[in-house]
Amino acid sequence: MKVLAALALLLALIAPAHAVDPDEMLADRALEARARAISAEVRCVVCQNQSIDDSNAEIARDMRRAIRERLTQGDSDAEVVAFLRARYGDYVLLRPPFDWRTGLLWLGPPLVLALAGFALWRRSRQTRLARTGTPAAAELSAAERARLDSLLGDDREAPR
């Protein structure tokens, strides 16, 4: 029992700690949930790869506050993201937008996978054909048949 209690305590301790201060949070739980969802997708501009929801940087706190202020004023989620994007560019989006500059980034991996799949498929087809014999090889011409018969016949009739 004691072990279980200790384990539960340990689990509670390793629960992810968030950077959002209780006094930052909005009283309106729906708005707060939207703010958290937006913050999780916004990249902190002074940390290399951390969302502002996770970051303790002052600028991250300022940006979280700006998001909450705009939501309270009635902005939609898209408007809040557009506000940040107008000021910090695509840099603030942890999920890069899909456009001509990022097309290769988004399509590259599936493209390579498709190419590899195609190469594998062709290869397996070739080895399968090689193993079972191609249809063309199964059909012998009359001359070939005659030569094969004579060779086999020679062999059979060869003296011991």
């Binding site: 002074v46 300022d62 506050r65 000021r87 560019g89």
Partner: protein, 178 residues
């Protein structure tokens, strides 16, 4: 047929990667560069309390009608100290210069300016970094040039240098003032 091509594949990948690395190393490519998305767009609307008692508030109308340089600074920021003499020079060149005191104790900012000289026409205080987010600031110092119509023309996310002043800022201010 296709097997022979497979031998070229590693070499091809090496060439592509080497090409990318060469590009990344020689073209000053910086993935940490946020860029300046505000350039070409209207400067944000702000209204900041003055740093000096009895001073005027710093508002968006303070860059209407004349080309203005706006500088985010703080007394705790070492690079601000380095670039400070250049702002004194901009002032002596007759450039309209406003300061935004970013996340700074007012008495410390005032002492800093008293020691080094105050080049700013108006200084707004931004104790909580709200104006910072409005301007898309990621730290201090950052400097913007705003034209007569209130459009941001330049946004430097670093301390300005003498080269910036001579080669970019002064020519730009003159050009936009024509």
């Amino acid at each position: 047929m296709s097997n022979r091509w497979l031998f070229v594949l590693p070499l091809l990948m090496l060439v592509i990667m080497a090409g990318f690395f060469a590009y990344a190393l020689t073209q000053n490519r910086n993935p940490g560069d946020i860029g300046a998305p505000l350039v070409g767009h209207k400067a944000p609307v702000i209204e900041l309390a003055p740093l000096h008692e009895g001073g005027a508030r710093l508002t968006s109308s303070d860059w209407q009608g004349k080309v203005t340089v706006v500088n985010f600074f703080a007394s705790w920021c070492a690079p601000c100290l380095v670039e400070h003499p250049l702002f004194l020079r901009l002032k002596s060149e007759g450039v309209r210069l406003h300061g935004i005191n970013y996340r700074n104790k007012p008495e410390e900012a005032k002492a800093w300016l008293a020691r080094l000289g105050d080049p700013y026409e108006r200084i707004g205080v931004d104790p909580e970094g709200k104006a910072g987010v409005e301007f898309g600031i990621s730290g201090v110092p950052e400097t913007l040039v705003i034209d007569r119509a209130g459009i941001v023309r330049l946004h430097l996310r670093r301390p300005i240098t003498a080269d910036d002043v001579n080669g970019t800022i002064l020519p730009m201010v003159r050009e936009l003032s024509k």
